[in-house]
Amino acid sequence: MKKFFYLFACLLIMNIFPSAFAQQPTQSDFEAIHAEVGHMIERFERNVAYIGSKNSGETGKDTYIKSTLRLFIGDGKEYTDSYGNTWPAPHMQVSSTRTTTPINRTIPDYLNRLRGLTYAKVQITSADHYTLTNIYKVGDHYEAVATIYQKFCGYYSDGLRRYCDVTQKSIRVYIERITEYEGTRWKIRFGDIDVIDTQKQ
């Protein structure tokens, strides 16, 4: 009788707390996820450069903006998690050497403003290689933090440099195991991007 009770209790617990028995990532999973996050960071940096460049075609920019939004939780918009909670859209902090306080913008807003900058020429490059922490567990999901070094330069039509800075930014990366109609998989998306430091160049 006791055995049946314990078995019943175990089955009950497994049904109430399925996440406790959800698949744990293996070392091989971690390595694959870590590599994918690296590709996403490089993709993001390159996309931002393309969207800001005055040499890029407008049709191409539409595709790049859509592709960039897909890197973020909720495709850059307000979203509802698997528990039914609604969360605000992730933000991108922007800064300049002219202001002391970074400004929060939603990702779509940031990208559209980037696209419409009034400089004659814009150059956005990576000032240094990104760094990425190990993946660590936070509650029922995993996170990592990436640090990027974004160099922004804007020029007048005569080629003279109007503004240039290097901003160190942190990117929150969210990794969770989700269940869809087709089956379970890892979902890796960016969250907030915050300014750490801005230096004039």
Binding site: S28, A32, N47, S56, T59, I188
Partner: protein, 363 residues
Amino acid sequence: MKRIYLLLILFIGLTPIHIHAQTLHAIIFAETDDENIGRTCEVDYQKMSIEMSMIATANHMSIKRYFYKDAASSAANMHNVLNNLTCGPRDIVIFYYTGHGARSPQEKTKFPQMCIDHSYLEWYPLYKVYTRIMEKKPQLCIVLGDLCNSIINGLPSKDMQISGECSKMSSQTESAYQSLFSKLTGGIIACSSEPGATSGCNLLEGGFFTSAFLKSLGNMVNGSATPNWNNLFNSVSSITTPRGQAPQFDVTVSTASASSNSYHQTSDDDNLVAALVKMSDSNPNTSERISLINSTKNRYFSSDAKVEIYGKNGTTLLDRMSVDDYLERVATAYKLINFTKLAAETNSSGKITKLKIHEIYKN
């Protein structure tokens, strides 16, 4: 006289000069439908499929795939492949088998037979694959087998002559791969265990030999060790021997004559992969990449197709998306240079409804 010279110059100028592109002939036989080890063989199959693409990409080679799994992994298909294989003098042939193996008490070499068929009469010696391929005179021949080498009493040896011969791509990684493949000529054969011994596997790693081989190869091409086949197999041995498995290998290679392959137009024998490569970052024309989205989708995919992206291990599912989103991803990708198609489901019209893929990036 001047007219003759002019005609001669025109003739030479208009005569097409065929530059033989170096080709990697990638042959995989995997016993994925075996009731005991089929699932681990599937793990090996996925991982080696990806590694073959990595090797071709790093060595700037065209790839021709001869991949056989499930019921297609048969003695008949193996005979067909070996009979019909043609390769140029600068081609590389890599043969890989994962499945059951055994040896006769009278086996002449240290390498076992592949239990590729239900009838033991059809079991095929690994060493015979090696000699058959070497007869085709490729630049480099590599034969790998992840299979048991245990003795079955009463199993006849198969008559044969012993010739005595025998999946983030930085420039350093490329150079290391080239040091192991396209810059060598000769032959290499290896199997997963010594005569009389079995070979182990599990669902997580696949075959222990394959897992150790890929790990050692990965360490080597990432700069942890000087690229060298003997060192590589010694590393494999150091991993598998504590697990009771001593791989056997013969390495007979030398440096190939210098040649430049920078002018080669590499190709992929898979039309879908070739189309994706055309859309990827290997194409510098961004507008052209984006313009290829619709035509690629209409040609290969159903309208509601889904694409799953896997990590280099072939098992970690990193993302799933609609084909529209995936093709936009490829067209706007950065440093994405090649793909390994792991599996594809098609509808009655031959259009892909579900695609499993691995992406190869350069550093």
